[in-house]
Symmetry: C2
Subunit: 207 residues, 2 copies
Amino acid sequence: MRYHKISDETIRRLPVYLRDLLTLSEQGRSSISSNDLASLLGVNPWQIRKDFSYFGDFGTRGVGYDVENLIRQIKKILRLSGVNKVALVGVGNLGMAVMAYPGFKRYGFEIVAAFDSAAGKVGKQIGDVRIEDVVALNTLQRRNIHVAAIAVPRDAAQETADALVDAGIKGILNFSPCYITVPKKVKVITIDIAMDLARLPYYLPGN
Amino acid sequence: MRYHKISDETIRRLPVYLRDLLTLSEQGRSSISSNDLASLLGVNPWQIRKDFSYFGDFGTRGVGYDVENLIRQIKKILRLSGVNKVALVGVGNLGMAVMAYPGFKRYGFEIVAAFDSAAGKVGKQIGDVRIEDVVALNTLQRRNIHVAAIAVPRDAAQETADALVDAGIKGILNFSPCYITVPKKVKVITIDIAMDLARLPYYLPGN
DNA sequence: CTATGTGAATTTATTCACAGCA
DNA sequence: TGCTGTGAATAAATTCACATAG
């Protein structure tokens, strides 16, 4: 193994590998070849081997990859080993779904705080989390929360992002349908499910 | 303009361009340069010009692009011009959020049917849509619905996809956290928000 | 003089083919 | 022999630079 800068495309694929490896682990599978993993994931075996080769010799030739070891290594690279505390801003329909989404826990994420600006929502209890007023965002730093999800209406997204940056947030998952500007040191990943649906008709047979 | 195969990357960006162009249009803006659009979107101007050049000469040199015309052209390429009827399978937390998501209407999508397997949910009315039993999926073809969203638990995703393919569905937006196998003529786009969150810690400053 | 449109150059990512290890 | 790991080949996407049109 030699040093390589890991490409963003590889980083994008790692969570997908991890997802199915966790499932395999739950099913008691201890080892898997790149071929089998590839057909499970719907990708090419050499893509998987290439991706893995960027950061280590994980496999055993003639055998395959050890599932548990691979999980450990991928988690380490993605920095998913511990628990990642996440704050949510905006507890509307989407925010509620985000809070209820069972997939996060699997990767060590826990939504430990929720904020909204509507007086009617503040104080309400959702599971273990009590909705706080957005003015309390500045408590995030001292509470050791470095990642936040934005699920507010478009017009409030930029000001929410600004407040989060002021509160020391280092990574933002943006569900609002717009581009937000942040300092370079802050990483933003925007998810707009309408954007994905919008490219589906292009691929449909002619009509 | 010459013929080029439009790359998937370009197709992925078109809905993002469209999103902000629609906002500009609502704000009454009639024309915009690639530079201004680029800074609005957080991308490079030449990327925008290159993308647009793949399918037409939309701009006016020295002036910029006509917003309304650009919207019309992008919609035409993405086949978003009319109304796209969408069926939803799985009306849990995520399914409810999908139904309530205001972003779809903007691109001409309308969720006109919803299905669930839980007896307690079947028959319930959500807005204009009455939840139907999944056994009624086979009515989709005659109802002229060609696109469906899957928001069922992982273990039910593949069988749901199979049923949708049998029902003549041509495009699937898969919210379930797994790969699903379908015939080549059917297009699947998988959205797993946990996958996006999972690569965020990688980009955070070292800890 | 401004801003588009596009070949050419560069960079990045994917695919291949096979050497090398268990 | 089976499957990984990886240089080399190929393909694809991005960036540049500038000719061209309004």
